[in-house]
């Protein structure tokens, strides 16, 4: 039988797909294993953490590690709730500001003609390759000079401009038909109205994607707590969880550390599952031309 072609994105199940599943399944299992392990580890009671030979799956699941984690934080000077509060404030403000700034800039770069626009787009294209760790020191100097050490803004502002997010949103705004926008201008809309009432509702998938990307940047960020914040009560949950992981190097502490890891990971996963359709929609326009 001749080759039929067009097998991308099949609508229904065919026998030939089994071959592919069998080929990639081992790899998928390998990728999933560490995460499954951490989820199991977090619920293991003490005797299973100490078990020899070590076990992979939990047998008698308990919440012990989570209650211990909360107890452990009481012995320290700063309650866990303070870190949770810091993290939530920082995350919400960073994602919010970033989305506002990014969508504004994306609208201008994609749909408003002004001098220097092409230059700005090129700079952002180069900035996609920006490696934040490489400028840790000068960034610290900037944060110092601005007097932001120990302030909440030291967590937020360095992460607001994320070139990858701007790039993806800009690509998406470009898909909005010019005719729609011109019609709005004909009706007397201002730039602001076009941005707020026309562009924003049309680029919801891109906004969802940008929010996930920025969320991942700030939620797991350790840099800001490590270098810009000296006061312990201004540090974030990620930082605290990480000190937990490092302080509990013993076998009994592993359970607490695993619980901490799980708590940090789950919000990420949930957010992605909720928004994954939008993400894939945005990624369709992610190409660099």
């Amino acid at each position: 039988m001749a080759y039929k072609g067009k097998r991308i994105n099949p609508q229904k199940f065919e026998r030939s797909q089994i071959k592919i599943i069998i080929l990639i399944l081992p790899l998928v299992i390998f990728m999933a294993m560490p995460l499954i392990f951490i989820a199991n580890h977090a619920f293991k009671p003490m005797e299973e953490l100490f078990a020899f030979p070590p076990t992979f799956f939990v047998r008698n699941a308990t919440m012990d590690n989570f209650t211990k984690l909360i107890k452990f934080s009481r012995t320290a000077g700063i309650p866990l709730s303070r870190y949770v509060f810091n993290s939530i404030i920082v995350t919400v403000l960073t994602v919010g500001l970033s989305l506002l700034f990014t969508t504004c800039a994306a609208f201008a770069l994609a749909k408003i003609k002004f001098k220097g626009r092409n230059l700005m787009m090129q700079i952002n294209q180069i900035a996609l390759m920006f490696v934040a760790v490489a400028v840790l020191i000068p960034r610290y100097l900037v944060v110092c000079q601005l007097g932001m050490i120990d302030s909440i803004w030291a967590h937020i502002l360095p992460l607001v401009a994320y070139p990858v997010a701007l790039f993806l949103v800009k690509q998406f705004v470009e898909q909005v038909p010019d005719s729609l926008i011109e019609a709005a201008y004909m009706d007397g809309a201002t730039d602001m109205q076009v941005y707020w009432k026309l562009i924003l509702p049309m680029i919801k998938p891109a906004i969802a994607t940008a929010s996930i990307l920025v969320f991942q940047q700030v939620w797991t960020n350790m840099e800001t707590s490590n270098y810009y914040i000296n006061a312990d009560n201004m540090k974030t949950l990620t930082f605290y969880m990480n000190t937990l992981v490092n302080a509990n190097n013993t076998v009994s502490g592993q359970g607490i550390a695993a619980a901490a890891t799980l708590i940090m990971f789950v919000p990420n996963l949930v957010l992605f599952i909720i928004l994954q359709n939008s993400v894939m929609n945005t990624m369709a326009h992610s190409g660099i031309k």
Partner: protein, 305 residues
Amino acid sequence: MKKKKSNIGRHANNNRNGYFFVAPYAIVFVIFILIPVILAVILSFTNFNAIQWPSWVGFLNYITLITSDEVFMQYVLPNTVIYAVVVGIGGYILSFVLAWALCNLTKIPRTIFALILYSPSMTTGVAMTVLWKVIFSGDQTGLLNSWLMELGIINEPIIWLVATKYLLPIVIVIGLWSSMGVGFLSMIAGILNSDESLYEAAAIDGVKNRFQEMIYITIPQMKPQMLFAAVMAIVGAFQNGLVSTLLTGNPSPGYAAQLIVNHIEDYGFLRYEMGYAAAVSVVLLLIVQLFSRAANSLFSEKDEF
């Protein structure tokens, strides 16, 4: 309201409102990305210990880096190259193959698999330290040691995180594990959106199997996504380094897993030789640029041969 000063389209070529919309982003970008990069370049020509005012030393830092930094030349550079090739290029090819395989499945299994493959990249190394410590623990209670001993592959536990022989491979495996990120998603979307009629035409024109289809139809159609994914892979490959510090400390035993990022951290935050660290940072940024240029010429749609 009928003044209509602003208009996209053909009429107004210099709408000042554009600056108003770009300004907030641009200001934050300049302060926290552009100025730090410029500062890094300036600092790289100085001797700076974070306490005294930096003193100008010209190209000395770069000369030292190339001629007399034995650790850099002997360990850091080779390690970084190996890491970047395996995790960057290897991870890139792996993401493409996986993305392509997933696109041959129906929607539900595809979404589930994509989620599983993508989720490690959300962990960004840091959060997972405890996990790797349990798996690679050096005594027989370590998960990997226990399994290998049960299978009879080894007789004695291997001290994974101290033995210099295994450090780099471990860091590479962790890097690969978390390399299916945004670029991977971009590739899936690129493949899914390729023009279906081309596949039929190709089949008539004599494309015989899926491999040919992939080379002649799929890849040329999704060059922009391939480029975006390549840039993401390059950046990812060069900015990793945190994992080895968290697992083994900085510097890692015998510099076995010392990557360029760790070298910067070592000089900048442990020895306070910030000028020198800045020079290494500039080299890192240049390397990333260079690789991205290469990817650009490979996939760019503008200059086809």
